[in-house]
Symmetry: C2
Subunit: 340 residues, 2 copies
């Protein structure tokens, strides 16, 4: 198995990317990594991190797509960028997965136009796993589609469900539809429509949910349009920052507090780890013809390592084929035929 990793994407590239890849190959067998980016820089970093094995190789690329570029133009024009080369290699089956912490826009555009959608998928989705009391909940979609049709919600549910089954090993994942108030008569007309479709489906649909039901783990997959999903995801991030800021003040208020913190430290670190987005790794772009992961621009080596390990699970379990089959079934069950 070969994992393609964009060495040049993200605020901490190529340093943290290369480090993460070295850690990944050290921690598991049966796969190799191809790093895409500036050969010299990558080689120097491999030396820094004392890797001299043959499981990491390099494909030299001469261009980099930045966050400030218009995605469509960049994807079209920068043929030798790490992102475009990564997608091309994935398409040509020269790799099993493509991982990048580069421009979200360029990755979404590249995934759509260079890989293309899985037959039957109307719109791909970004589906991050966020911390929840039930061990992690998927938000589908979290930013690829600001407005959606009913069929999109249904497919987000399907892809989110399959993803969390494979990555977190959850059986029969509980699916909720994000709304204002859990009552069926509340909310936007489209939510009412989707609620009916989900009830009639084979999903383990538990009904409409509210924002608080995500972190409290009432569901395994929270289905919503990408505007709502993105805002929720960021809100969670902001709340986390507020909390850590407040706790820092509590722990450093005086000498007694500092001592107390030392006493709590080991348990607190475990809790902190559960909140660290780097621990969950990157976010997949689901619904395209290949396994693609977008890591946070500010991610560190841990995120890269964990993303590599997660992606191997998906690749081993033939995630793309499974989605292909399930999307077909969803159509057979007549849900693809409703007015969209």
């Amino acid at each position: 198995m070969k994992i393609l990793v964009d060495a040049m994407g993200g605020d901490n590239a190529p340093k943290e990317i290369v480090k993460g890849c070295v850690e990944a190959v050290k921690s598991a067998e049966d796969f190799e990594i191809l790093l895409l980016g500036d050969k010299q820089q990558i080689e120097d970093l491999l030396t820094t991190y004392r890797y001299s094995g043959n499981r990491i190789s390099i494909r030299h690329t001469t261009e980099v797509i930045t966050n400030n570029e218009a995605p469509t133009k960049a994807i079209k024009e920068k043929k030798d960028s790490s992102i475009v080369v990564g997608f091309q290699m994935l398409k040509e089956k020269l790799g099993d997965v493509f991982i990048s912490a580069g421009s979200t826009g360029a990755l979404m555009t590249g995934a759509l136009f260079l890989l293309g959608r899985i037959r039957g998928v109307n719109r791909p989705a970004l589906t991050p796993v966020v911390p929840s009391l039930s061990g992690g909940t998927v938000i589908a979609d979290a930013g690829m589609n600001t407005t959606c049709k009913p069929i999109n919600y249904m497919q987000f549910a399907l892809m989110g469900k399959t993803y969390i089954e494979m990555v977190l090993g959850k059986n029969n994942p509980r699916i909720g539809l994000v709304n204002v108030g859990s009552e069926e008569e509340k909310g936007l007309p489209i939510i009412k429509q989707v609620n009916t479709l989900l009830k009639e489906s084979n999903f383990n649909f538990i009904g409409n949910i509210e924002g608080n039901d995500i972190a409290t783990g009432k569901v395994d997959v929270a289905v919503c349009d990408g505007f709502t999903g993105n805002v929720m995801l960021k809100m969670m991030e902001g709340s986390g920052k507020y909390m850590s800021n407040g706790l820092k003040k509590v722990f450093t208020a005086n000498i007694v507090s500092k001592l107390a913190y030392m006493m709590l430290k080991s348990n607190f670190e475990v809790f902190k780890k559960s909140l660290d987005p780097n621990e969950f790794g990157g976010t997949p772009i689901l619904g395209v013809n290949g396994i693609v992961y977008k890591c946070h621009g500010s991610c560190n080596f841990k995120a890269i390592k964990n993303t590599v390990l997660n992606s191997i699970e998906l690749a081993k379990k033939n995630f793309i084929d499974r989605i292909r089959e399930e999307i077909k079934e969803l159509e057979v069950n007549n849900i693809g035929d409703v007015e969209i």
Copy 2:
């Protein structure tokens, strides 16, 4: 000044409501409270809380509107409910403020149909203050309007701004427009339209914001439609629950942790207080002809007390007149005339 308080609304009514009112009159002068609800129950509770002064009186009502009733029907039919009587008295200037922890639907409906909108206000808004690193941020709207026109966003900005000026004493509040990504070209078409309007306005508009900018206090007023606002508000609630659950585990893991917690307790309580929605008090319904506060259904006496005290500030500063004038000005500035 007379504050009308629904004694029968919410999960902890009438107990916590009456207790909150007793605490409020003990903590400040210059106002009296009229409790609406079952006379016998209220009298018994006043005895329990040892209140025998003359600043709390009772208006006996025989009906209660529950959360399970259709709001419009309930408001029409239950003429002697604490909510309907409260709105009627506020309308007839027999009180300066109306506070209730009862059905949100009934309160929104009652505010709209019994009090009516302030002339020029297109849609009222629910505008809670949420904890943020800048000392509290208003979300406008957080649930009254699931879909909005540009004029609604502009008026939410105006009402939110005036509210936070009066209640938190913030000068020239920073206003942000909730979007996916801060770039102007991103997001829904309506957001782009509103962005242009806000830039041309006299508001202290700092641009598009993301969900994380709320808790981190980048803005004082986060403007959005009520679907987005409600989901964000609830997401924050859920994140808080996740955090407190995790911290509880850390603090109670073993004897050493428990001891450490005792050492941190006083500082931790201060932090916890900053997160307690009861400390912020209720959420106003802005844009109607009267000062109306909705308290959380599960609120305790502290929320009632704090809501009474906040509402007095608004009433003293002639909040409704100020909104009336500013809405006119917003129209004069030609923003009311744009295509809506």
